[in-house]
Amino acid sequence: MDRYTEQRLFGLLARASAALIIAVLLLVVGVTLYRGGRVFLTDPTVAITPPGSRYMLDGGGGFLHAVLGSIFIVVPATVIATIMSLSTAVFLQSDYSSERTSDVINMFLNVLWGTPPIVYGVFVLTVIIAVGAQTSLIFGVVAIAIFQYPIMTRYADEALRSAPDAVKEASYGLGATRFETARVTVRAALPGVIAGIIMGFARGIGDAATVLFTAGRSTQMPGGPFEPATTLPILIFEQAASFNAEVRSHAYAASFVLIVAVLALIVASKLLAGRYARFTPGG
């Protein structure tokens, strides 16, 4: 095989791989939208109807409990994770820490970033058993927040790093304190920070392994922070292989709601990043 044939062959293979991946994406999204949409669009009220008393057996009612559970767990978790991850990212900038300290902390963050979500789930469950509590909504919040923290820190750190040094220097030059300068830097990096928060939210709302053992897998409406709750991914996981067709169809409808939410979040993150770009210097 001469070098030009080889070139043509591998150029073709590269194109084919990219095409394959796009085809797979379209298949996954298409199947979810089709199977879920068929159930959801014929009766959209399943998403806003509370579950019946024998929900797991006959699929009576809807899955409002999972929709609300997802919101009540992921929104507070994202708020907590945002505060913590933004603070950590600001700390990792050179003003508060030396280069070496940042390197060490970054190493730990990388390990946390690669840790399987199930480990966080097991960890929080161990804590629950240790303090003698029962699995409930509040521990779901804790588990998701821990899961989101390294992801969002990475996004925030990258965004702050890409803010031009001139902003920081100008701020110090005017006599601002480190904290005031950090606020200016965060504002200059706002598109990236916001995109990171939304991506963290999307990851949190889609994760099942962390909340599976911590939120309590309830099949009733969430009663309060110390009562068991469930989320959409858990509902899909538990009902996808159910023997009852009605229960199974709710898993499809829930997956439709979930994928629409995630896709909307991605679009929102792109749009907001463009909108807040006016805060970036020179943009």
Binding site: R3, Y4, E6, Q7, F10, G11, A14, R15, A16, S17, A18, I21, I22, L25, L27, V28, V29, V31, T32, S87, T88, F91, S97, T101, I105, F108, L109, V111, G114, T115, P116, P117, I118, V119, Y120, V122, F123, T126, V127, Y172, G175, T177, R178, F179, A182, R203, G206, A208, A209, L212, I236, F237, A240, A241, Y252, S255, L258, V262, L263, I266
Partner: protein, 315 residues
């Protein structure tokens, strides 16, 4: 060390009003931020300590080596052999990486070197979307599409029989999940390369593909390699997809078409019902600790390899 502190302490004595308040905020916020920085380390330490402490009961009763090599998993009889789950995990990881890695590298080459303009934006945003889809959805699509495909077509084509749920099914779906993740990391390291490399190579008469193969892949090698190792870590710790599609059978898998169990799916399938027995609980927490240690080794290995290769494949 920085001029504001100096200036500040001077003025604090003379004008305690506005500047004083700013300095108090500065002091308080720096405590908070230092605390936030240490939080990452503290969280990691807390997780490791808790898991170690909780897995002591099982390790003190059964030898670790024996548990890792015994094929008999029967918590009711206090038999804790992790071998089936370990083998299942290895099967799934190796198979899905074998399927995913070549495609990921080729697609990364396409995005970084071949695609231009609108096409590039479209393809890379498609890959971002694919990376953001929750894994339960892949599991569900796997149940609808991949399970019948494996059961009706793939297994008969290989001359065996399969119910559809099993190691191959999980590997196929995991390959789909991990590929976009590896692509975006590889594209990053390919795009970070200076154009001089491409120009110099094309200038001495190499074809585009020769440039990619012998220059660019080598220069971006450290980044691509660590992307692959991070992908390994991903597949290794995947929980929901194996739990949905592997069939949940704790026996040593005879062929890739058999049902099996991975370490994370073992936790999911057995934690719920056996939580009340302390020794089983301890065994499953030990599995969590194993996962953490192995993923940590992968990450650490990725870091070392990248440093090593960076020195060796300098440009």
């Amino acid at each position: 060390m920085d001029p504001t502190t100096d200036h500040g302490s001077n003025a604090e004595t003379t004008r305690p009003d506005r500047l004083g308040r700013r300095l108090v905020i500065e002091r308080l916020s720096s405590y908070w931020l230092i605390g936030a920085g240490l939080f990452a380390v503290a969280l990691f330490g807390l997780i490791v300590l808790t898991l170690v402490q909780q897995s002591i009961p099982i390790v003190s009763e059964h030898s670790l080596l024996e548990m890792l090599t015994s094929a008999n998993w029967d918590p009711a009889q206090e038999e804790f052999g992790f071998l089936p789950a370990i083998l299942g995990t290895i099967y799934v990881t190796v198979l899905s990486m074998a399927m995913g890695t070549p495609i990921a590298i080729l697609a990364a080459i396409y995005i970084a070197e071949y695609a231009e303009g609108r096409m590039k934006v479209i393809v890379s945003s498609f890959i971002d979307v694919l990376a953001a889809i929750p894994s339960v959805i892949f599991g569900l699509v796997g149940l609808v599409v991949v399970v019948p495909f494996v059961g009706d077509y793939l297994a008969p084509a290989f001359g065996t029989h399969s119910i559809g749920l099993g190691i191959v099914t999980v590997s196929l779906v995991m390959a789909i999940i991990v590929t976009p993740f590896m692509i975006s990391l590889s594209v990053e390291s390919l795009e970070a390369l200076p154009d001089e490399l491409r120009e110099a190579s094309l200038g001495v008469g190499a074809t585009k593909w020769e440039t990619i193969r012998s220059v660019l892949l080598r220069a971006a090698g450290p980044g691509i390699f660590s992307a692959i190792l991070l992908g390994f870590g991903r597949v290794f710790g995947a929980t929901i997809v194996p739990a949905m599609l592997i069939g949940g059978q704790t026996a040593v898998p005879g062929s890739p078409f058999d049902a099996g169990e991975t370490l994370p799916s073992l936790i999911v399938n057995d934690f719920g019902e056996l939580m009340s027995i302390p020794i089983t609980q301890s065994a499953l927490i030990l599995v969590g600790l194993l996962l953490l240690v192995i993923v940590w080794l992968f990450n650490f290995g990725a870091m070392l390899v990248r440093r090593r290769l960076q020195r060796r494949w300098q440009y």
